[in-house]
Amino acid sequence: MLGLSSQLGPKRKAKGKLAPYESGMSATGDTRGKFSIKYYLVGALFILFDVEVVFLFAWAVVFKDLGMLAFIEIIVFLIVIMAGYFYVVKKGALDWE
């Protein structure tokens, strides 16, 4: 599928056609420069919380068998995580602009 149109499609060389699109202006500056730190933050926080979710998945499967013990342990686990979450939110790490 990838090859199809490069073989079948027409080839019309034209100046500027291969330049990156920037609303008709010629491109300025480097695309891969700095970008907002927020993206890094979101990425780091995602990894942190996603790891917790992975723990939760294993826990959820056996929850019915373990009952009360699993519940108490997960409450402790969630308190610790939510303390971290609360801190992150209050510090404004998730506010955009």
């Binding site: 009360m68 013990l69 108490i72 342990e73 308190i79 610790v80 303390a83 971290g84 801190y87 209050k90």
Partner: protein, 487 residues
């Protein structure tokens, strides 16, 4: 594991929990509180440490295990916890003045110290590789952040990044070693791994070597010592004080635990390695320290050297010698007092957002701040191992155990190394007492000076009357050697 056993184990790790809870409270309260009340949160940290300290005292009585034998709450752990808790307590008080100096009132600092301390405590009592790694990481990650805490300083940030990357590598190596040992023995419990040890199986040897590498890195001993000066120099002063005593002691604690948990040929096979490491660590640390222009960097190299002295004790204890093991434990305790003191003086003298680092920064201290100069003298004498300080007694014990175990060369090299060290320690005092008073010094800081007084008295008093603390160390050594003798 049923509900009641979980509860029982949870109650048993009260000291660790009190630190973690205090840390969480700080983290939650910090964003909520506004205004000046925010600056008092370090009180919660001190409270948590005090509670932990009191709960920890109970452990001196009986040895117990928690979480199916994963944690061993014995006197050995209790003694090391004492080192961590006192170190953290004093470091927090010191850091309060320090943070004021660099205009950062970040309560995260205290929370991180608490988390790190709890990690050390878990580490010192773990008898199983999973909890060991858990404690190792809780301790390390907090310290990585702490060393980069002075965000305005390029060097502090550099130290943090350096420590993070190198520390990450060492953790990975440690984990890989653990995986190999687990693969070879089918267990993560130290005792079972040791009992199944088989020298002909390369997995055991490679795994053991990798685990050793991880510990050697954290100790900052010879082949893996290069990170120490850069990180110690760049990190904020109280953090350097804290990690040079806490992280080092924790790494030694787990090294002792791993080596002496059950008897096998391992002890005999790694002793030549440790012998070489100890010698080179002492030599490299001491010789490099001479050339330093910054006191902070000099103390960093000296901390490498001190790790070497403590390693002598481990080598001397290869046959399960209780005196030798307790001399290592005691040495770390003594090192906590005197090194915290030395960094405490430098913290005290830091002013106007800058750290007191070079020799010029303390020149003429005696004329302007005589008491501080005396304290500095006590700590430097102690680090050099000159009586009547605790440093002398601890060093004497180490060398004595080396001689008793017939490691004459090791003892001689150690003594020669400390003679070298006397040169650079006393050079500090030359600047402080004999040079012109060209430097300017900050005004009186009440909290820090109390810390210095406490440490000074501790260094001198325990140097003259060391016997109570020494017998505690003996008991601690006995408790870690229980399994060793049994096997």
């Amino acid at each position: 594991m049923d509900l009641s056993e979980v509860f029982k184990s949870t109650l048993l790790i009260g000291p660790e929990i009190s630190l973690i809870v205090a840390g969480l409270i700080i983290i939650v309260l910090d964003p909520i509180l506004k205004g000046p009340s925010k600056n008092n949160l370090f009180g919660i940290a001190l409270l948590g440490l005090a509670v932990g300290f009191i709960l920890n005292l109970e452990r001196f009585g009986v040895a117990q295990t928690a979480f199916s034998g994963a944690l061993s709450l014995d006197q050995f752990a209790a003694y090391f916890n004492l080192i961590f808790l006192i170190g953290a307590f004093l470091a927090i008080i010191l850091s309060r003045d320090y943070l004021k100096n660099i205009d950062t009132y970040s309560n995260e600092f205290y929370a991180l110290i608490l988390f790190s301390t709890s990690g050390m405590m878990i580490l010192s009592s773990s008898k199983e590789f999973m909890s060991l790694f858990l404690g190792f990481e809780i301790m390390s990650i907090s310290v990585y952040i702490l060393s980069a805490f002075n965000r305005k300083s390029v060097r502090s940030t550099e130290a943090g990044i350096k420590y993070l990357i190198l520390g990450g590598f060492s953790s990975a190596i440690l984990l890989y070693g653990i995986a190999l040992l687990y693969g070879a023995s089918g267990s993560v419990y130290l005792q079972e791994i040791v009992s199944k040890f088989d020298p002909s199986n390369p997995l055991f040897l490679a795994g053991g070597a990798l685990v050793l590498v991880g510990f050697i890195f954290k100790i900052g001993a010879f082949p893996l010592h290069q990170w120490v000066p850069d990180v110690y120099e760049g990190a904020p002063m109280p953090v350097t004080a804290f990690m040079s005593v806490g992280v080092k002691a924790a790494a030694f604690a787990i090294l002792l635990r791993v080596i002496f948990e059950g008897f096998n040929e391992i002890q005999l096979s790694i002793m030549p390695v440790l012998w070489i490491i100890a010698v080179f660590t002492m030599l490299v640390g001491n010789i490099a320290a001479i050339a330093q222009k910054s006191i902070k960097r000099m103390l960093a190299y000296s901390s490498i050297a001190h790790a070497g002295y403590a390693l002598i004790g481990i080598v001397a204890a290869y046959g399960g010698d209780k005196l030798a093991v307790s001399s290592v434990i005691y040495y770390l305790f003594a090192y906590m007092l005197m090194n915290l003191g030395a960094f405490g003086v430098l913290t005290y003298l830091s002013r106007d957002g800058k750290e007191c680092e070079t020799f010029e920064d303390i020149s003429g201290l005696w004329k302007k701040r005589p008491y501080i100069a005396v304290a500095l003298g006590v700590f430097m004498f102690s680090l050099a191992g000159i009586p009547p300080t605790i440093g002398f007694f601890a060093k004497y014990r180490i060398f004595l155990s080396a001689v008793q175990a017939d490691f004459y060369w090791l003892a001689i090299i150690g003594i020669l190394a400390s003679v070298i060290s006397a040169y650079y320690y006393l050079r500090v005092l030359v600047y402080a007492f004999m040079k012109e008073d060209t430097a300017t010094f900050p005004s009186f800081k009440i909290a820090s000076s109390i810390v210095l007084v406490v440490l000074c008295i501790g260094t001198l008093f325990l140097g003259i009357f060391p016997f109570d603390s020494w017998s505690l160390a003996l008991e601690a050594a006995g408790s870690v050697l229980v399994a060793f003798k049994g096997g």
